[in-house]
Amino acid sequence: MLSQDKRNVIAKRIAQELEDGQVVNLGIGVPTLVPTYLNGKTVHLQTENGLLGMGPAPLEEEIDIDLMNAGKEPVTYLKGASFFNSADSFALIRGGHVDVAVLGILQVDIYGEIANWAVPNQPILGVGGAMDLVTGAKKVIAAATLFAKDGTSKLVKELTYKTSGARRIDLFVSDYAVFSFTDEGVKVVEILEDVTIQELSEKVGFTLEYAHDYVPNR
């Protein structure tokens, strides 16, 4: 698959996880593609800098530099939207009022602890809302390709990058498969690519199992 295709596969699969009426925070990158695949479901997008009810990107001539998302891209707002300050915005996130956060990751361990803020061997000078979202959202879904550009698996036995917090995520939707996390460790919920679970296990470097309630359809 081409890279853009992979990103779309991930976004489309995540869209399936979202439910009508949910309050959702989308991180930068792949997560921003999710709304394209909602198929009529209404989700309310929150952005950390103070908006619930974010709409799509504006036309070039309709850009208002005041109105942006947390990635500092121009956005619009929809009917039913509301604006609030940063403290109130993070009260929404940290108080558990965001139903789902969809976040990019650098790594996730087999119990669902993620690393998504500090790039190794680079000065750590930005965290933004990453730790607040990991800790505060009711459900956290990671969105990323399974393998980094150097071929290493982002699903790891133990994090080697700096953790984003003790809170474990619920789901990791990658280009190859969907993984769920419980105290018993990671399980494969669904395979999205033309690959067997054995091949996938080899690729990530440890044995993967299906989730009990998952019946593979291939």
Binding site: Y77, A87, I124, V127, A130
Partner: protein, 228 residues
């Protein structure tokens, strides 16, 4: 009672070594005119509390480039390339906080709260050296309130008393910054007579605001341009 003053008059409210709370997220909601006035002073060694240090060469970036900033407290400096370089050379101190902790710490400073416990950052590098406390079986870390000497903020409209309303996501950190400093200066696009703002819609009550200046910038397309 009229809090509206000329922008050049604000220079006397700053001094070297001040901790300055600055509203804005990127350029949205940044008090660009106030920052320009600061550039005209000879004060330095400033500690800036702001989510980031400007964007696209505007706002706090200018202040940084003029060497006026000793320390920055904020959540996201990754895209402030020059600041990152200065930090790696030991020329700039940076204190990194999760964005929600930053906002809450400033709100606390303005609300008479000494500090608070949050779950955000527990177990991470940003929790190192911070007191832990278990509350109802869950682990929290202590974060101390943040206050400033001067807060510089941007609002859409002010009446002559200093009641403020904001525009879309340019609201961001401004209302909290307005609560937590000894002197609060607001830059606004439009100045109204008292009574023109609906009391139900005012976001920052005038009690928080000491001085109001007219912004010299206006939005042209997707940019802020100095226009007056």
């Amino acid at each position: 009672m009229n809090k509206v003053i000329e922008s050049s008059e604000i220079r006397k409210y700053f001094k070297s070594g001040d901790q300055i709370l600055t509203g804005g997220f990127g350029i949205s909601g940044t008090p660009l005119t106030i920052i320009d006035e600061l550039l005209e002073t000879d004060i330095n060694d400033l500690t800036i509390v702001s989510n980031n240090l400007g964007d696209n060469g505007q706002g706090l970036h200018k202040l940084f480039m003029q060497g006026k900033i000793k320390k920055a407290i904020g959540s996201f400096f990754t895209l402030n390339r020059e600041a990152v370089i200065a930090w790696s050379k030991g020329e700039l101190e940076i204190e990194l906080l999760p964005q929600g902790t930053l906002a809450e710490a400033i709100r606390s400073g303005g609300a008479g709260i000494g500090g608070f416990y949050t779950k955000t950052a527990v177990g991470t590098e940003l929790a190192i050296g911070k007191e832990e406390k278990i509350i109802d079986g869950e682990t929290y870390i202590f974060e101390k309130a943040i206050k400033g000497d001067v807060a510089i903020i941007k609002a859409a409209k002010s009446d002559r008393l200093g009641n403020l309303v904001y525009h879309t996501t340019a609201r961001n950190f401004n209302p909290v910054m307005a609560t937590a400093a000894k002197i609060v200066i607001a830059e606004v696009d439009e100045i109204l007579e008292v009574g023109e703002l609906n009391p139900e819609h005012i976001v920052t009550p005038h009690a928080y605001v000491d001085y109001v200046i007219q912004s010299k910038y206006s939005k042209v397309g997707s940019e802020y341009v100095e226009s007056r």
